[in-house]
Point group: D2
Chain length 350, copies 4
């Protein structure tokens, strides 16, 4: 490869986020995955649980041991359930690993808010302060050289990339923002439950955790930062009978006289040079399948002069831009590499 | 049967609305479907195009001829594309038939609005004035004895049943209403196009006709009537990769200090005695599959004290309560029968 | 109703077979479901676990107690996992209940075969001898007046209705029969596992239990009975990403010179007067959706003169004709009623 | 890149095969797609019809003109409907292009058979004789340096890779082979019809073209070649409600005393060194999703001593190994490159 080459470990390799990191990193020119880690399945071949990896990854799953991981790897991705990364991070950093946390454990700066929304013990405030929130196209310049990166949630990524430019420009009234979000089922992870049972979800559409979702404070934290004053939002999550994909449909009152084309231009300027955000032409709205399997976030607009509101549609693949892909993008940014390395996937269509 | 017995004809029997009328009316104690009509397939067995009807309906499709239909039937259902019912209705009424129009042609009282949103020639103003809008649980008492009933649209049915009680009570600010609606694919009809192609829709979620959907003026017409002053709304439609089901997720600012349980109680009182609206307990929201194949509309609430907004979730089966089922309910109301006749289907689950 | 009226209990009311019995029996003119029974959820409202039943069934789940059930009911349906019905049946019969067992516990006449294929303790031989196997269109005349009916499995129903007439007529070589079967996911029950996880099954097609499925000896038992000599078959089951529906595609060498139309005629004669089997015209094959939600079994043929084989396609709804529907049909036959009572559902399409 | 670099044109770029070539070739180190061609949409941006390509391919579609294509490209892929490639190939070869035909036009050596099964005018016999059938793991050594390659059909690829080693070894009786094949909907192409309508296919499973599919003579041609004597087979195709994936479940009588592990070993030896065929361990069968988006063909076995038959399960992604992927593999083989170039995709899971 080159003198760039990094070795990577993935903790949580038997979840969907972990296995997506394996898929994507297989194409990265400078990164080798040298350890796949799982506390629950240590010592068994990863391909036993994921037969699509047969003959691709023949190694056994490692246990969770910071020093042993450091002996194999330079960087570690934490693709673990909420509550685990907070516990593991101190020793992983101590062992000299760069840590990219895909879970929600280091996103909220306030331990109290974490406890309230996640119902888990928060990370130490020192680590929360140290962690940089890697919403790549908004805060990407803060990530370079950082050793503890907190990767944004899937809903916050789609939502914030859709709202930030308009909010930063003062074009929408932050008090009026309403977010109606929809996700494929893979966002719920690989755990088996009635809530992920095929016969219960197929030919079904449902709302869940209304006004209770743990991504609400994460979204509000960024909106507040961008607006420069406290922002509270209404956020609803829905489950779509499909595996991958998130759409956030967002509503806000427009300040000033703005048309669709104004929004298109504003967003194209804001995201200039950032390959992974594609702003659609006036009158066109993205579909989730148009970013399937890729790291893109596509955005479209409709301003309604009748109501004075703008409707913003933003889509991502929840497992790529909403998890593993953006984590790799953050690694790239952190290393000072081109942010697109290993992520040049054309969406899979159909 | 009894002296109640009516003979019915269905124009548009080769569409999904027509074929659903056939399914439902097969269980109606007082109605016989004596003529299935299709302009495009006259003279062929209906089971040729719908093999699920083999040995159930062996008759041939009739052509569109008002007198011939009258010779066979007392009531006619119009399950036709927009623009057709407006043309056929005068002669059908003239021939002495009771007409229940499932299309959008007689819903808007203003011909100008119809022309603007439907891009078709409107019905004569006299017929628009004569037609009674059969949103059964709201305007059902106006339907009795009526000969021209306009059956509500699928999105308006789910949306209005979810909004009317709160709006009528003055509990929500009409200027703040935002409606985020999602529909299964059968709402698009049986016509083949890229927009209904399996490989394009499967594992895909999309928004369409944002701020342009022809159900917007229909919804606003009723909201305006209930509020007693002009109401303008934001309404977005999305396509879900499933066949049947509509969910409207609705947002509005709450007037006064109301909790979830207040909304539950208000709605239960409003819909008392109406079997087909089921108001869910506090903290529970309906899923589309829980009304699948049935005439129910299920509604749930979440008031967020942080934002002062209520989120209302309303679901129906678009082909039953959103089309054929409510049309039969309107026939029942019109005849002075129990509104549930022929509609006592338990939702099919799973 | 009438002096015909029976009260029914359903053991296993929280599974898909049980809840489908509730849906179907709600339309039966002579049967009232007076007790829904579940060992795991006794004392809770059935609608808690199945919100589609809200306001339809408001009763609490009863426990498994033969005398208490007898106090409420005349007939009991056993919609239980393998191994349970064998244990419960003696006391239920003893209490004076008519028993219809939807599970596999009383299908095989040989306890040894049951043990080999089910890996469970078999029922007592006396009960296996007493039980009548209710493949309605083949053995229906044996069911009348019987108190212990064993309802056929879903795959055997689709398969045997597709094979029996040709085998009985000596038109196919029993040594050459190969059965390639496909099922929707609801056949796997409501238990949550990786094998029923939406993200694992969606956009996926798989084979399972090849040459090991417990329906193999059930199918062979009937084929042997019909052929009058031992028949061994190859039988493969596949999982289709859909909720309901079974197709058996069957292959056999044709004896004699037979064409498609000969098979059509043979089967129409065999099933004359039996409403629930529909034999398709030459050159037409049924699709699973064409029987969805109904008690039909539809069958089509293709004889290939190039190979001398016939391909037989047979479809059912696994939860209706493959479970709850045929169980009700068996109750009807057992009572001497019209076999179609309560089962006159038009397939739901689309 | 290197002195290896080839420029490629794709005729039929607006179909699923063409657009999949674009996706895959975007990762090929030695190939640039310099012309996307479509007779129907010449002059419009390809991203208009495929918004997932926005900002990825900004070029306009070219018309079908052999000389103009030659000016831009060295090799041309024909991803056209049956009947088109036969007409275009002579002038494309004449212009000096290497031609890889993904359609069925050059697969059958007999023009009469083509006409019988395709109902189209066959290619000239000279071109049929010249074309090399690129079933890569069987006939790959014949492809090197060839200018007219006929890419195998999707069903034949899955089927033949599953049958050839056993047939070549004389382990199965060719007279007993039965092939039960299942495909996702993308195999039917992008054309809109009732047969590709979402509401008709969702929650539905169907058989089609029984004993009439045009892939039958293609399969028999290879089986005959391998067996060294005429082979006739029974072949059934089914449509699965999913977008991608093919499974062939195959049945044959085993010659000699062979166990599962014998088949596993035989196939591993036959495919040694060929990365894209993965033979599963004894007792494990592949699922279509385990090869999704990749060029793999995975195969598993079950020998049943009760019947003396082997059941062979073979899966591919119909658009990759069944079309675009194998076409690139053939280009690689033809150029003397590593056959895996540009095809090292890990299957997308879930």
């Amino acid at each position: 490869m080159s003198n760039h080459t990094l070795n990577a470990a993935i903790i949580g390799s038997t979840g969907y986020g972990g296995v997506e990191l394996i898929r994507l990193l297989a194409s990265h020119p400078y990164v080798n995955v040298t350890s796949v880690v799982s506390s629950s399945s240590e010592g068994t071949p990863i391909a036993d649980g994921f037969p699509h990896l047969v003959e691709i990854r023949t190694d056994l799953l490692d246990g969770v041991d910071a020093k042993a991981i450091r002996a194999k790897a330079d960087v570690v991705f934490l693709a673990t359930p909420a509550g685990i990364a907070a516990k593991l991070t101190p020793e992983l950093l101590e062992a000299g690993l760069k840590v990219i946390d895909i879970s929600g454990d280091h996103r909220l700066k306030s331990p109290a808010l974490y406890e309230q929304w996640y119902k888990k013990t928060p990370a130490d405030e020192a680590y929360l302060a140290q962690a940089v929130y890697g919403l790549a196209e908004v805060y990407g310049d803060r990530v370079q050289g950082v050793d503890l990166i907190s990767n944004p949630g899937c809903f916050p990524t789609a939502t914030l990339l859709g709202l930030v430019p308009a909010l930063a420009a003062g074009w929408i009234d932050p008090a009026t923002i309403i977010i109606d979000a929809k996700s494929g089922v893979s966002g719920a992870g690989r755990g088996a439950s009635l809530g992920t049972h095929y016969s219960e979800l197929n030919e079904n559409f449902s709302a869940y955790k209304i006004n209770k979702h743990q991504h609400i404070p994460e979204i509000e934290q960024v909106l507040t930062d961008i607006a420069g004053k406290p922002v509270t939002t209404t956020f609803t999550t829905h489950l779509v009978p499909m595996t991958r994909g998130i759409m956030s449909t967002m509503y806000a009152s427009v300040i000033g006289d703005r048309k669709d084309e104004d929004f298109v231009q504003l967003y194209r300027e804001y995201y200039e040079g950032r390959k992974f955000v594609r702003v659609r032409d006036t009158g066109k709205w993205p579909k989730t399948k148009e970013v399937w399997g890729s790291n893109y976030c596509d955005i479209g607009f409709s301003v309604d002069p009748r109501t004075g509101r703008v409707t913003i549609v933003s889509v991502i693949d929840n497992l790529v831009k909403g998890a593993a892909g953006q984590a790799i993008q953050n690694l790239n940014l952190s290393m000072g590499w081109d942010e697109t390395l290993g992520l040049n996937f054309v969406p899979v269509y159909p």
